[in-house]
Amino acid sequence: MAEERKLIDARGSLCPGPLMALIKNIKRAPIGAEFEVWSSDKGTRRDLPKWVEKAKHELIEIVEEDDYNRFIVRKAR
């Protein structure tokens, strides 16, 4: 369990802003670090899970809020 989950509030950013923000943060984070990406962009729902799968990290959960989604991701390697 990560000690602290880093929030990336990318609501209002168009795709791929939220995904790029996640990649930028995950790149220099230690293994096990967790991130919570908030995105109101529909493209993120399509691209972020694909990237997490390709990069072999872990998509813990997608939470659908009223006007945005929360993506919980763990750096797995």
Binding site: A10, G12, L14, P16, K24, K27, D47, W51, A55, R77
Partner: protein, 389 residues
């Protein structure tokens, strides 16, 4: 003459955004406010022409112009110095020369810097075109290239001018076509995204051009490290690509003094409101263009638009009025589709380009306009740097 009680505006950065903001402020409130521009360098650089330098035979001197020729010296005090710290509480700026400047309004327009060692192996392995000198080295490397795999892409996020990587790729293809070497050269384009570009309509056109020209697109490839001896780029996603020639955008960061002053994030990008461009903690500090964490392209166009909004907001505040102008994310840019044709793109926070077709018809005129654009850029009376357009 301004008096000591007049409002003080300091602009840090003598690039596109800093010069435009300084000229507008000088013209509109230069008699009732003190306007100071602090720049590390005496010359302003027209960066978009770096791409042309790779493929032509010209020198780089015409890409530079002295700040003293493009800034209104009667209304703006120009200081060539390096800022080492800003104290937002006391509203003071300390420079390398040991000078102290106080401000009522501060514009941070000091852009991005290249931190080559941020990606292991980059400095030893990669060519790039983000400085005029680097573009000339790449020119030589392309002239001497005898064949093999050329890898193009980015080394880190975020980076300046996202279209430049696609431009280089398509221009390099045209260059080798002219040299009749396409049978010996394979060009690979590494995209950090799920597609070639972030805007779907543009991406579709580029991917069509890549397919037609047999340029291989590799998506979701985010550079992790480079092994210069084995000539391999390793990705965060666990893939690897071998190269004979590596042309890669260098890693970017914000300025050191932004980090040292506690004004930026860990990478030195200034957190600003995307509409007012005011710093998230200090509403008398404005972030302009590349220096910010705005969700738009780091580009001369964004610097142009944000600097005008910032200048107008500061002018209103100096006049005791409510600042109204807001930045809506406007960015326009040319995208070279070969050595002799170009597209023109315009978008904003809420609007993707509606129509970018007909670029095969207008490609040549747009290319010619891009070639003569430096004249409009540098013209100090009516050009981009004057802030009048």
């Amino acid at each position: 003459m301004t008096s000591s009680t007049n409002p003080k505006v300091v602009i840090i950065g003598g690039g596109t955004g800093g010069v435009i903001a300084a000229n507008i402020l000088g013209r509109k409130v230069g008699k009732k406010a003190s306007i100071t521009l602090i720049s590390e360098r005496e010359n302003i650089l027209y960066e978009p022409d770096n791409l042309f330098r790779i493929f032509d035979k010209k020198g780089i001197s015409k890409q530079f112009k002295s700040l003293f020729k493009v800034v209104n010296k009667k209304r703006v005090q120009i200081e060539i110095d390096t800022v080492v710290k800003v104290d937002p509480e006391s509203q003071k700026i300390l420079t390398k020369e040991g000078k102290m400047y106080s401000y009522d309004y501060l514009v941070i327009a000091s852009g991005a810097r290249y931190v080559y060692d941020r990606v292991p192996g980059y400095e030893e392995a990669a060519y790039h075109y983000h400085t005029p000198g680097a573009a000339l080295k790449l020119r030589d490397a392309l002239q001497e290239f005898e064949g093999g795999d050329i890898i193009t892409g980015v080394s880190d996020l975020p980076f300046k001018c996202p279209v430049a990587t696609m431009e280089f790729t398509l221009m390099a293809h045209h260059f080798f076509k002219r040299k009749k070497m396409l049978d010996k050269v394979r060009i690979h384009y590494l995209s950090p995204l799920a597609s070639a570009f972030s805007i779907e309509k543009v991406s579709d056109k580029i991917e069509q051009a890549f397919e037609k020209n047999e340029i291989e697109l590799h998506t979701f490839f985010n550079t992790d490290t480079i092994d210069p001896e084995k000539q391999i780029v390793y990705s965060l996603e666990g893939e690897e690509m071998r190269y004979d020639l590596l042309v890669m955008v260098p890693p970017h960061m914000g300025q050191d003094y932004v980090i040292a002053s506690g004004l930026g994030d860990d990478d030195g990008w200034l957190p600003v409101d995307r509409y007012t461009l005011e710093h998230e903690k200090y509403n008398n500090i404005y972030g302009c263009g590349d220096a910010t964490d705005l969700p738009v392209s780091k580009s001369g166009s964004a610097a142009h638009h944000t600097s005008k909004i910032i200048a107008k907001r500061i002018i209103r505040r100096i006049k005791g009025k409510k600042a109204k102008k807001k930045y809506k994310g406007q960015v326009q840019c040319f995208l070279m589709t070969s050595l002799t044709s170009s597209m023109f793109l315009a978008f904003s926070y809420t609007r993707q380009p509606r129509r970018i077709g007909l670029w095969r018809v207008f490609g040549r005129p747009l290319y010619l306009f891009k070639k003569i654009f430096p004249f409009f850029f540098f013209n100090s009376r009516f050009g981009v740097l004057s802030g009048r357009v």
